[in-house]
Symmetry: C2
Subunit: 249 residues, 2 copies
């Protein structure tokens, strides 16, 4: 049975997140599985690289599904996109991968972007797609704070209490802060992240951007290995799963 790799874009607002969770609230996964069912009468489970939370968006989520039917990849993409309408979910690409290829377990790199809107007025065009803080943040101070988190560390202070990972050790390869018009955009890359790690790092860097914290406070929070010492969790709506890297690429 062929296995298909899918690149998925979605606006997470109104969905329960990637994974099936609450009764009555649709997940991105279910929406795609239903569209696959409508396309080819097959019930199948779609596995994602990063199981995003409710309200988190994706520009390049990676997923896979194994189907009995031998679809030309482009036709599968067209059929699923047709049945996904009018939902804000679309397959950007479909390709065939080996039977042992796994969107989550084969992945060797993930990257996210977080958008913070730094103006007094609420977002109109980007409602639900940015964290609207209502004030300016200092991108240089935030970058100095971000630099303290780079590398291999115990990220317990930035890990959700519900995180199921075996180890709190992660290697953060990239954490870049960029001012883009009236936004601060933070790009994070690592082999993998802990649950809420990006949002918790962003919530902490926002304290630095406001001048409430210094970069040294970030180091202290990291070293404390205690979630209650770091900053708050930034809201889901500013977060985008941008893409993933696999060994064959």
């Amino acid at each position: 049975m062929p296995r298909y790799r899918m690149i998925v874009e979605y606006e997470g607002t109104g969905y329960s997140g990637w994974q099936r969770q609450q009764a009555g609230v649709l997940s991105i996964q279910e929406a795609i599985e239903r569209a696959i069912l409508a396309s080819g009468q097959e019930e199948a489970t779609v596995h994602a690289c990063g199981r995003t939370d409710a309200g988190v968006h994706a520009r390049g989520q990676v997923a896979h599904v194994t189907l009995a039917k031998n679809w030309p990849p482009f036709k599968l993409m067209e059929a699923v996109n047709f049945h996904l309408k009018p939902q804000p979910i679309a397959l950007l690409d479909v390709s065939i991968v080996p039977d042992d290829w796994h969107a989550r377990f084969s992945c060797i790199g993930r990257w996210y972007r977080y958008r913070i809107l730094c103006r007094r007025a609420p977002p109109a065009l980007d409602k639900g797609r940015v964290w609207s803080v209502g004030y300016k943040l200092d991108p240089n101070a935030m970058q100095a704070g971000a630099d303290r988190l780079l590398g291999r560390h115990d990220f317990t202070s930035f890990r959700a209490s519900l995180c199921q990972a075996d180890s709190p050790i992660r290697t953060l390869d990239r954490l870049e802060v960029r001012a883009v018009e009236d936004e601060i955009q933070i790009t994070a890359a690592a082999r993998s992240f802990l649950h809420h790690q990006v949002r918790n790092m962003v919530g902490t860097l926002a304290l630095v951007g406001q001048g409430k914290w210094t970069p040294d406070d970030v180091t202290r929070a990291l070293e404390a290995r205690n979630r209650s010492v770091a900053g708050p969790t930034a809201p889901a709506e500013g977060l985008y799963f941008m893409g993933a890297v696999y060994p064959e690429e």
Copy 2:
């Protein structure tokens, strides 16, 4: 009575456009006038620089309103934004202007951006905010076509039949085509535009981008002074009113 200048951002989807039009469909103008009424019990007419069509968005629409009440501008902005919620309309700035300042008649420059999504998959995150053509366009050919429209011309071929302007003569100062990831973005600037002029120019340039038209065909269409000879009107959803220029700036 003080006159207030307002910078407005909005997502035009679902609105009848800037101006009051159909019964039962709210316009951006009415939405703001209602929020002003709710803020200070004043009925007032809001005048815009560019009266955008249904579905057209704005990042920097300029408008003015004269009110009996003497508001600190920031307080007026806060009150109106509060009463606009949860609509995708926000005042980005409010300032006091002279009594003879007019958002439309004082304006000496306007600029728009048009976004074309050039991929097979429909837009998910940018649903309603881009023209999704479903295929690649050649930005260099489009720029060569765009260059033929620069300068002072009779733009009858690119003017809506319902256009109420006295003259079809306009001076196009800027028409730039830029490839940005899987989008083509077209930026247009002029003192003023005819009705549908940007969308009609974009529809024509899309023909050039597909290779169906050459830049010479653009010149021929312009010289024909006949709307039926130029390309189709690009859809409203890709168009953004970006900003306006005034003599005092």
